[in-house]
Symmetry: C2
Subunit: 460 residues, 2 copies
């Protein structure tokens, strides 16, 4: 493309600041995005988190370093105060051994790329060696005869459905095999579980993620396979059905430890007792650098607060920028934030979360019992649309702000960027800073700042 | 993010195929996108173009190879016929020498990353060595006294404005320094021109692109600087104002040569005499692999035709899938396609172009004199929105289909994906296949197919 093919109005989505649109909120919107697009600091902040701290599973030394990073970034941004809120979190450790080998009945061996699922128990030191039974999904297990799975490794190989535009829909359609595969296979006597990674990207990355055992059941080890190796294993089992896999995992649980939510406070001008919360989660899985999940949401939230301070746009209500600990394997940070709020008699008004990646803006999702919020969102839609959000969906929030919503019955909003690339990197070694685009990240920070500004000043 | 945070309706933008929406066009829409998202062939086709052919400036051997690539891909996709339409194109050759060195008055030398602008004349073999005068834009030149720029290298350093959400707006705001910088500086006696690259990405890539001389003026050499080196040069000139730069370019013009547009024909079921054109341009600049500009548009267009054939969705009207030659430095392919149409007495109905990159879908831009087209687009908006296009902008088209629009007064549509990353790679060595995402590319192919289907069957 070499020329300017379209008129300005076409390219800018019809946005012109004509005289009649120059209301206060229009001006604030443009000021927020001018600042973040030209002088945003979120990208460089995120670089520090990714490169100097790296991945940061709850309870790890890096998680403690991330708390310090968040505190320092908020202090530098000029927040009125920064609170470290104690949270007790589980500590799960991957350990050094994580391997799987396919022994085909024709004598050939194939090394498989695996990652233990988060919270899985490990295997005996010499591993578990067993025949593999491939199944499509949890329901398929019920079709097996008694004892058919006994001592076997059950291999859940249901792919994410590529037909959905939203990759979150595709994820939602089969993530139960990761979350509940082990718990569902254990009563059949299975020895371990392998799960096709939750991604649409055919490569060699295995994607970890949380799983839960039945508290009354047997805990069997579970690991994710990369798509390339899930396909290879599936093909091998077709040719050599009685082939065995040896799975060795050294992961284990240690005692719970104390960690923190990081809460940055920007005191409200007129109603300081009412609180608008915006945040992401500070912990990540122990792979990659947790750049999109959810370093992006943390960096954007800190930046949103900085923008409001820097531009003199402090809202009437108090803003809490919260970096929640332990979203990935327990959600203890979100639970504690809500409990402490009740304990302290805080008044909460609205909560916003960014935990769907740092990509180009697409949608706001808003959940509200009071339907007048949707009329408000409709009125604000023109501001969102200038910077790439053309729809406000009828439901939204986040894992971390869910407990607060439940405790206070307040509306929640989830920031939803473009999802096409998200599960390429989600919970994998590829979730690194290099997959973040500065403008895309900063647009998200701008939208968080704008929503906080609009909600924080609303007459309600 | 670990759980399914949102209801299905929220995540899919409210899309549910309820009974009453199951009209023919709904079904066609879903079939098109199911096919392309699960079994699309555009991505692998584009890989071949990028990796086996590479960049392909008009008149180069690679451009000829690209014509063959396009023809083969269309034959394989089952098109009714493939026509190679002769087009005479300019031949500009970059040559082997392309360097610039800053000689600071303090004795230090700095090598600068440059790329000759397309269609520039070269320098003498030993280069041009001259003092450098930095200016902001074309208008700044008028503020200089007579002879102040004589023999100097004029350095246009106006940056793209990062404030715009649409990076095309930012591009449009300062690309005149690339297109007309040399022509504007030559009458002041300037010896050569250096131009800040048209990008927002601060890195070491210089971005080439077209420029035009005044036919009655003096032709002086012109080259683009990477942003890192534009900033370095600017800083050096502040410290050492009389520093000189030596610019050596071996680029030159050769005799025009014959090349081709590639036209794939899918004959209409009911009105075969009326033609809907969809395409992109096959040529690229002689850098990178022309992946986004515009290998993506070519691969998407070919795939759009394949989808319609494969799914039995051949429209009432005839479809021309056109890979235009020479968009970048002459637009001769687009001109010849329109001329030949008139010469052959063809009836043209609508034309569509994809030449804004292969990223995630955002907008359609539609230009139509007959306003009823906008009512139609409004009716079709729900189909577009299921797969990420939430707005139809009031103007759109493309360089290649412009001559056809002018000749026939037909409506034109331009496919407009997300623009945040486009100018990172535009006309640079970084425009390679690895910057293409398979789902993003295929969503664009789906939208092209859908628009061709809707327009090609419309009652008008």
């Amino acid at each position: 493309m070499k020329k300017i093919l379209f008129t300005a109005s076409a390219l800018f989505g019809g946005f012109f600041l004509s005289a009649q649109t120059l209301d206060t909120d229009s001006i604030a919107t443009v000021r927020i995005f001018n600042e973040v697009l030209a002088k945003g600091e979120g990208y460089e902040n995120l670089r520090v988190l990714c490169k100097s701290v790296g991945h940061r599973l709850s309870g790890s030394p890096q998680a403690a370093a991330a708390v310090e990073w968040g505190k320092q970034a908020m202090v530098k941004a000029g927040y009125d105060s920064v609170i470290l809120q104690p949270v007790k979190v589980p500590k799960w450790v991957r350990g050094n051994v994580e391997k799987a080998t396919l022994h085909q009945t024709n004598g050939e061996n194939l090394s498989l790329t695996v990652k233990a699922l988060g919270m899985s128990v490990g295997t005996p030191a010499l591993g578990i060696t067993a025949e593999v039974v491939e199944v499509y999904n949890l329901d398929t297990l019920k079709t097996f005869k008694k004892d058919a799975l006994k001592g076997k490794i059950v291999f859940f190989n249901r792919p994410m459905n590529p037909h959905h535009f939203s990759t979150f829909m595709a994820y939602g359609g089969c993530v139960d095999q990761r979350g509940s595969g082990a718990a569902t296979a254990a009563p059949f006597g299975a020895a371990a579980v392998l799960v096709r990674s939750m991604t649409l990207m055919h490569d060699d990355h295995a994607h970890t993620g949380s799983m839960r055992y039945d508290p009354k059941g047997v805990n069997i080890p579970a690991a994710a396979l990369s798509l390339n190796d899930a396909d290879a294993l599936s093909a091998a089992l077709k040719g050599f059905p009685n082939s065995k896999v040896t799975l060795q995992l050294s992961c284990h649980h240690e005692d719970s430890v104390w960690s923190n939510n990081v809460i940055g406070v920007i005191r409200g001008r007129e109603k300081p007792e009412e609180i608008v919360t915006v945040g992401g989660h500070l912990d990540s899985w122990d792979v990659g650098e947790g750049a999109h999940d959810d370093g992006a949401g943390c960096a954007q939230s800190i930046e949103a607060g900085r923008l409001l301070i820097q531009l003199g746009l402090r809202p009437k209500r108090t803003v809490h920028v919260v970096l929640f600990m332990n979203e990935e394997n327990g959600a203890c940070g979100g639970v504690e934030y809500a409990r402490a709020a009740k304990r302290n008699g805080e008044k909460h008004f609205f909560a916003i979360e960014s935990d769907a990646g740092g990509f180009s803006p697409r949608y706001w999702g808003v959940s509200a019992e009071d339907q007048t919020w949707y009329a408000l969102m409709n009125r604000w839609k023109k501001y969102f649309a200038w910077y790439g959000i053309d729809q406000v969906l009828g439901s939204g929030g986040g894992v971390d702000i869910g407990p607060l919503r439940d405790a206070y019955k307040i509306p929640t909003a989830g920031y939803l960027p473009d999802s096409q690339r998200y599960f390429d990197v989600h919970h994998a070694d590829s979730d690194v800073f290099e997959s973040i685009h500065p403008r895309e990240l900063h647009l998200g920070a701008g939208h968080l700042a704008l929503m906080v500004y609009l909600v924080g000043n609303n007459q309600k």
